[in-house]
């Protein structure tokens, strides 16, 4: 989880990712950030996030993203 927050901080240092759960709704993350994020997550966790998983519920918070990665790793 800490590493996930570090990755997110790399994109937007000004955001408090520990508490923010409206990253998509408040347009903090745009499509540019999402692609960068998926690329870094792929490097870090060796997991492929498919396009179908790019929905606000999975990207609205660091916690949701972490849970998505865990779920994808489990499914493999």
């Amino acid at each position: 989880m800490d590493r996930m927050i570090e990755i997110l901080k790399g994109l937007h240092p000004e955001v408090d990712f520990e508490s923010c759960n409206t990253l998509i709704e408040n347009k903090i993350l745009d499509s540019f950030d999402i692609v960068s994020l998926i690329s870094e997550i792929s490097d870090e966790y060796d997991v492929v996030i498919p396009a179908v998983e790019i929905i606000p519920e999975n990207f609205n918070s660091a916690k949701a993203l972490y849970e998505l990665v865990e779920r994808l790793l489990e499914d493999e």
Binding site: F32, V35, I38, S39, S42, V48, P50, A51, V52
Partner: protein
């Protein structure tokens, strides 16, 4: 059958009355029947195409589901015995089979669209190449007639099959329900490009008569007619004159054309969508919004989030993300990062996907270089503004003007004019002419000509200009009120006399101020041709 024709209004009244008179369980079947009747007015011969799309999608979505069921059963039965590697390999085999079926469906349907819409464009380019190399060889054009709404219903249907492939929802087992989703008449000709999971809930359920739905729906339809008949069709007269005579209408006239066309296109397209959503609402069906006051956008990316939303979402979900996050692209990005640094490596997949999306968006709008150049120029502006974002950040850190009213107004006007300039590529016959006419804004501006009777030579009288001014003020006021919630909900809270007076005023405006009669032409919606 045009939305603005008397035939269509009669058709609509009959549909509404019968829909609420028949047993509720037959309502969706009735909608399928009337959608096909509506489609038959465009030409019986076109049925073969929409039936081909329906059948191919139905059969292939069934195959995709069957393979998925086989996989789940196999994995369930062998849960205890199968190793992790074998499980992975088995899933990969099934995935490949499903991918092949999906590909077949995409090739069949986009292939059909490609052949019908783009064959003559390809031939015309080949003929140009032949002429350039001095070959006398010329290929004859096929001149295929484009079936009504094909760009819209194929995109909607392919979105459905991709969602089924991605297991977002199970496929529809009833072919007639799928057929209605594809052919639902209000949205058949110019969208919105709906998603099955958004529509199915209200499309197939039973609907009792709801006064609120019917009155809200009719208000929305009237509002659409107002935009189309009072504003768009009136501006169309001037637009046709301005773009039709290149030598007489240069300089300031090009600026005027850009402004008129921006408003015409907005009133035309959003008016058509208002009619579509209004009809659906009378029937109790919820259709997604396609616009969110785009002319209030402060940047081009925001504009594209608020204009033709369903097409933008389609491209984002089914083209932009699949390209930018696919394995080869991520590997390429990694290689770029290693060679050229983090910043370039990060941008690489996004920019490649952006270029592909905008090229396709342009091409989707029409088989001509004008649209392709328009799409790529949009892309260029988006990339430039992305690259300039650190500069903007520095500017805002230095000068704290970002939240002032005037700065926001400047951003809105800048975005409006930029988008309107780009849209001009729809108008002139080719890219070269468009750039030449842009050039005359600098070389032959001559503003005075407008005040020396120039405005009166555009097919519009003084009363037309006054009607346009009045309508523009109404349009702007409604948009401003909308920012804090639905105008119709606010209106519904008013006394009955206010509600009916508004109804009456709107109806009267459409009837009296609409562009009808001698000199006017009941025109098609601009987006019908896409």
């Amino acid at each position: 059958m045009l939305f603005t024709s008397y035939h269509f209004i009669l058709f609509l009244v009959l549909v509404f009355v019968i829909y609420y008179l028949i047993p509720k369980k037959f309502q969706w079947m009735f909608l399928l029947f009337v959608s096909y009747v509506f489609y038959s007015f465009a030409g019986i011969k076109y049925f073969v195409y929409i039936l081909a799309t329906t059948l191919s999608t139905y059969i292939i979505s069934g195959k995709l589901n069957k393979l998925q069921v086989i996989q789940s059963n196999f994995l369930k039965e062998n849960k205890e015995t199968i190793s992790k590697e074998d499980r992975k390999a088995y899933k990969a085999t099934i995935k490949l089979k499903r991918w092949k079926w999906l590909l077949l469906c995409l090739i069949l349907n986009f292939g059909l669209l490609g052949v019908l819409k783009y064959t003559d464009f390809m031939i015309s380019n080949l003929n140009s190449i032949f002429r350039m190399v001095n070959t006398k060889e010329q290929i004859s054009f096929f001149r295929f007639a484009l079936p009504m709404g094909i760009s819209f219903y194929i995109f909607q249907t392919m979105g459905y099959i991709i969602d089924v492939y991605r297991e977002k929802y199970p496929p529809e087992k009833n072919i007639f329900k799928l057929a209605l989703f594809i052919s639902f008449f209000p949205q058949l000709i110019q969208g919105p490009i709906s998603r099955f999971d958004d529509l199915k809930e209200t499309m197939f359920e039973e609907h009792a008569y709801s006064h609120r739905n019917v009155s809200f729906g009719i208000q929305r339809i009237l509002w659409g007619f107002f935009k189309k008949l009072v504003i768009a069709d009136r501006l169309l007269i001037a637009v046709n004159i301005l773009k039709g005579n290149l030598e007489d209408y240069q300089g300031i006239y090009v600026v005027l054309l850009i402004f008129f066309y921006a408003i015409e296109l907005y009133a035309d397209f959003t008016g058509g969508i208002d009619i579509t959503i209004g009809i659906a609402q009378v029937l109790g069906i919820r259709v997604k919004e396609n616009f969110e006051r785009p002319f209030f956008s402060k940047s081009i990316t925001e504009y594209w989030r608020r204009w033709h939303i369903t097409l933008g979402t389609w491209f984002k979900e089914y083209l932009f993300y699949p390209i930018s996050i696919c394995k080869p692209m991520l590997n390429l990005s990694k290689a770029c990062r290693a060679r050229f640094g983090d910043q370039i490596g990060k941008r690489f997949p996004v920019y490649i996907a952006t270029i592909v999306v905008w090229f396709t968006t342009g091409f989707w709008h029409g088989a001509s270089w004008n649209f392709i150049v328009w799409g790529l120029l949009n892309c260029l502006v988006i990339i430039i503004s992305q690259e300039c974002s650190p500069l903007y950040a520095k500017f805002h850190a230095r000068f704290h003007v970002g939240h002032t009213f005037y700065y926001r107004l400047f951003q809105i006007l800048r975005t409006f004019w930029l988008m309107s300039f780009l849209r001009t590529f729809d108008l002139y016959r080719n890219v070269g002419t468009t750039f030449r006419m842009f050039g005359t804004i600098v070389t032959k501006l001559n503003i005075n000509v407008l005040f020396q009777g120039g405005l009166m030579k555009l097919g519009l009288t003084l009363s037309d200009y006054l009607i346009l001014l009045f309508s523009g003020v109404v349009l702007l006021t409604v948009s401003l009120v909308q920012r804090s919630g639905s105008v119709r909900v606010k209106l519904a809270a008013k006394p009955m006399v206010v509600i009916y007076a508004t109804y009456f005023a709107l109806f009267l405006s459409v009837l009296l101020l609409g562009a009808y009669g001698i000199g006017y032409d009941a025109s098609q919606f601009i987006y019908n041709q896409f």
